[in-house]
């Protein structure tokens, strides 16, 4: 059997080898089969992709295994990766995309970078020209390994078919473990044709060793002590809460101690927005209360966050009176941006779980004394809360964007999974849709990728068929990936897309209005297609609302429709997102109106 290991299959099988093949009862599988079986073995049910020359063998196996693995044919590879991301973000599972070499791979790059910035687990399989032709500028050759190097958690160029099986297993392990991220596997075409029945191991068993969590006891005790005694503490929580599924642990800790919580854009849903202890989102477009409370805090407990510049504003003045406790899974993020006084290197679930245990075992009168001592802190916090809550705007004549999100919240009972694109609509959705649970809010936070929303919502809806998934996008971003509407139609995925149509690249227009003397340079989108007709051309339902009185009816009609619906919601054109902290400034310089 081993003698057939390296015989290329199909087209170029030499006569002698072909004879050997005939005498072997069950021929060794070819690389493409090993690959697809590897995906199935790793629990993959859904793949998003688009075929091409370099992945023909793989697609041949995708067809053979069509009962065990579902492939969704997108119309652009960026859509494939965003859909895989939507799938991953909604479930925590590894999303999978499959694209061809050269242009297929470069089209996937934006999606890979988006996943990298938000630590989303993906395995992206890219075809490559045959190994023998690598480096010759062959047709559709691109150095995918090199191009994606700075935007992957790890990557492989498969050199030997015997490594393929181990690489697939390892890729899934790396993508989902620790701080998750995208892994690229670049597979030359000849490798997918080669037969192999003697797979070999990679020398990387250490990746699979279960690393027991060792949190420094002394540090842990110190954190607990600080938490109990702090006078003006606040929890600043991010995507790490969602990734680690730590919502319950967080709830236990802060409810015991009665400490306010502020989630970042990525942390939304990790703590219920409507909870008494929640001050709302932090950062550039966050609440006045959150930003003030962080500024005035004496203990900032940062969990699963990386001190992004959209949160901190001017770093020197960010939480300048506070001792900082940083809880993060990746040691390289500790002290990278902001110095931490105490840090725990652990995932949020483990760390907060341990803290909760310690609190349960601690002296309860000490805890209740601490809670009492924080009453004056709460007076201040509540003052900030009441003085400047997010203000929803209403009008008789036009639909205000904030009103749209509020109405969406009502008609979905606050239960929908909201997927956004990037821009003003994203911030309004974050501000005016109170989230109840983790993974209810999917957005491109780190890279800020326009075009993310629609395909990601498609992936999320596929992953969660029993949930209502709604994409909220701008008229700009919608036009970057609207080709995937037809994918949703083809596979009968009940995609719902709300276009918040303001006739502008709204967020850019806002900055030009506020910081560039209202010189509107290249942001006018008043020349746009008729989105209702466009929807109908795709075979989707197209609905438009232009007046406030139509809003509720249109939303209800579209959300109750069984198929794909595109909503063209015409909103007031020059609305601005408030509050706003101008980039790089002290958070106290927040502009409220």
């Amino acid at each position: 059997m081993t003698s057939v290991a390296n015989i290329p299959a199909v087209s170029s099988v030499p006569a002698a080898a072909a004879q050997i093949l005939e005498t072997v009862k069950t021929p060794a599988p070819r690389g493409a089969e090993i690959l697809v079986r590897g995906l199935i073995k790793n629990g993959v049910e859904t793949v998003f992709g688009l075929p091409g020359g370099a992945v023909l063998h793989i697609y041949d196996e995708i067809w053979r295994f069509r009962d065990e693995i579902s492939h969704y044919l997108v119309r652009h590879e960026q859509g494939a990766v965003h859909a895989a991301e939507g799938y991953a973000r909604a479930t925590g599972k590894v999303g999978v995309a499959l694209v061809t070499s050269g242009p297929g791979a470069t089209n996937a790059v934006t999606g890979i970078a988006t996943a990298y910035m938000d630590s989303i687990p993906l395995v992206v399989i890219t075809g490559q020209v045959p190994s023998t032709m690598i480096g010759t500028d062959a047709f559709q050759e691109v150095d995918t390994f090199g191009v994606t190097l700075p935007i992957v958690k790890h990557s492989y160029l498969v050199k030997d078919v015997r490594d393929l099986e181990a690489i697939i297993d390892e890729a899934f392990q790396i993508a989902k473990s620790g701080k998750p991220g995208p892994v690229v596997i670049d597979v030359p075409k000849d490798i997918t044709a080669m037969l192999c029945d003697n797979p070999r191991k990679l020398h990387a068993e250490y990746l699979f060793e279960s690393k027991e969590e060792t949190i420094d006891e002394t540090a842990l005790n110190l954190v607990v002590e600080k938490l109990i005694n702090a006078r003006q503490p606040i929890f600043y929580v991010g995507g790490g809460i969602v990734t680690a599924d730590a919502a319950n642990e967080l709830m236990r800790v802060v409810e015991t101690l009665q400490i306010p919580v502020t989630p970042t854009l990525m942390g939304l849903g990790g703590f219920p927005t409507a909870h008494d202890l929640c001050l709302g989102m932090l950062g550039m477009h966050g609440t006045y209360a959150s930003n003030m409370a962080v500024s005035e805090s004496d203990l900032l407990v940062a969990v699963g966050v990386r001190f992004d510049d959209r949160v901190t504003g001017k770093l020197a003045t960010f939480a300048s009176n506070a001792e900082i406790v940083h809880i993060y899974i990746d040691p390289s993020n500790i002290g990278k941006v902001k110095k931490a006084h105490v840090s725990l290197i652990a995932d949020a679930k483990t760390a907060l779980g341990k803290i909760a245990e310690k609190l349960a075992a601690a002296d309860q009168t000490e805890i209740s004394d601490g809670v009492k001592n924080r009453e004056s802190w709460w007076l201040k916090v509540n003052d900030w809360r009441n003085s400047a809550p997010f203000a929803c705007e209403y009008s008789q004549t036009e639909i205000k964007p904030q009103h749209l999100i509020e109405e969406l919240y009502r008609v979905t009972n606050g239960d929908a999974i909201i997927v956004t694109d990037v821009g003003q609509h994203q911030m309004w959705a974050a501000q005016f849709y109170p989230f109840k649970r983790s993974r209810q809010w999917l957005t491109s936070g780190g890279l800020g990728t326009m075009g993310f929303g629609l395909p990601a919502a498609m992936g999320a809806q596929l992953a969660c068929p029993d949930s209502q998934v709604v994409a909220v996008v701008g008229d700009g971003g919608f036009q970057m990936t609207n080709q995937e509407i037809i994918t949703a139609i083809q596979y009968k995925i009940p995609l719902k897309v709300i276009i918040m149509n303001n006739g502008y690249l709204g967020m850019v227009r806002q900055w030009q209005e506020m910081f560039y003397d209202r010189a509107y340079s290249e942001v006018d989108l008043s020349i746009s297609p008729d989105f209702v007709k466009l929807a109908e051309a795709y075979g989707a339902q197209g609905l438009r609302a232009e007046k406030p009185e139509d809003l509720k009816r249109v939303l209800e009609e579209g959300l109750n429709f069984k198929g794909v619906t595109i909503f063209d919601i015409v909103v007031s054109k020059e609305e601005n997102v408030f509050p706003i902290i101008p980039a790089g400034q002290d958070t106290r310089n927040m502009i409220l109106k």
């Binding site: 790890h154 790396i174 420094d216 990278k336 006084h341 725990l344 290197i345």
Partner: protein, 196 residues
């Protein structure tokens, strides 16, 4: 207030960052696979860290290479570099060799013009003082070989400058920690395993 905290270790870091820019030697155990070195180098360039020298060679296990990098930065930069390298899936260990007693060596080959007679004699004196070697010679040139820590190599080249140096090639540093049981400072080792 933070003194008692400083004694704690591992999952608990208090940065006592010195802003002094210093040269550091970092030793990285990385898989001997194509692309892994570019991942390390890319990580330096993407964050604007400069590499002074880089040196790679096999270890006892052929699957693993040791890469020695000399770089410059303040404590915080070095700490970042070490942690970032530690995130790479195919990096098994990262060590700041210069944080504890160590031995460092670099080799240089120097092509220098010398005329026979007094000039050659002077060079031979330098060769002796530095314990260098003459590895090639012609009527008007010599090629010298020297190994030592980089300061010694610098000094040797400086001393040769009055003569005409035609070419210098240097290997970059390799380094290893000392055995001495009397030294208390522990090398700061991070077993790097980002994925696990």
């Amino acid at each position: 207030m933070m003194n008692d905290e400083k004694a704690l270790s591992s999952s608990f870091i208090v940065l006592s960052s010195s802003l002094k820019i210093m040269q550091h030697t970092i030793s990285i155990l990385v898989a001997n696979e194509p692309g892994e070195l570019s991942r390390i180098v890319g990580l330096f360039s993407a964050r604007g860290f400069n590499i002074e020298t880089i040196c790679v060679g096999k270890t006892l296990e052929p699957a693993w290479s040791r890469c020695t990098i000399v770089t410059e930065g303040d404590d915080r930069t070095i700490e970042q570099i070490i942690k970032q390298c530690g995130r790479l899936a195919r990096v098994r260990e990262v060590r700041a060799v210069t944080k504890s007693p160590h031995i460092e060596r670099e080799m240089a080959l120097i092509d220098v013009s010398v005329s026979a007679g007094r000039e050659r004699q002077e060079i031979m004196n330098l060769v002796q003082i530095f314990r260098a070697k003459v590895v090639d010679i012609s009527h008007e040139k010599m090629i010298l070989e020297l190994s030592g820590d980089w300061r010694k190599v610098d000094t040797f080249i400086e001393m040769l400058k009055p003569f005409q140096i035609n070419e210098v090639t240097r290997t970059g540093c390799v380094a290893i920690n000392r055995l001495s049981p009397f030294e208390t400072a522990e090398a700061e080792t991070q077993t790097a395993n980002a994925a696990a």
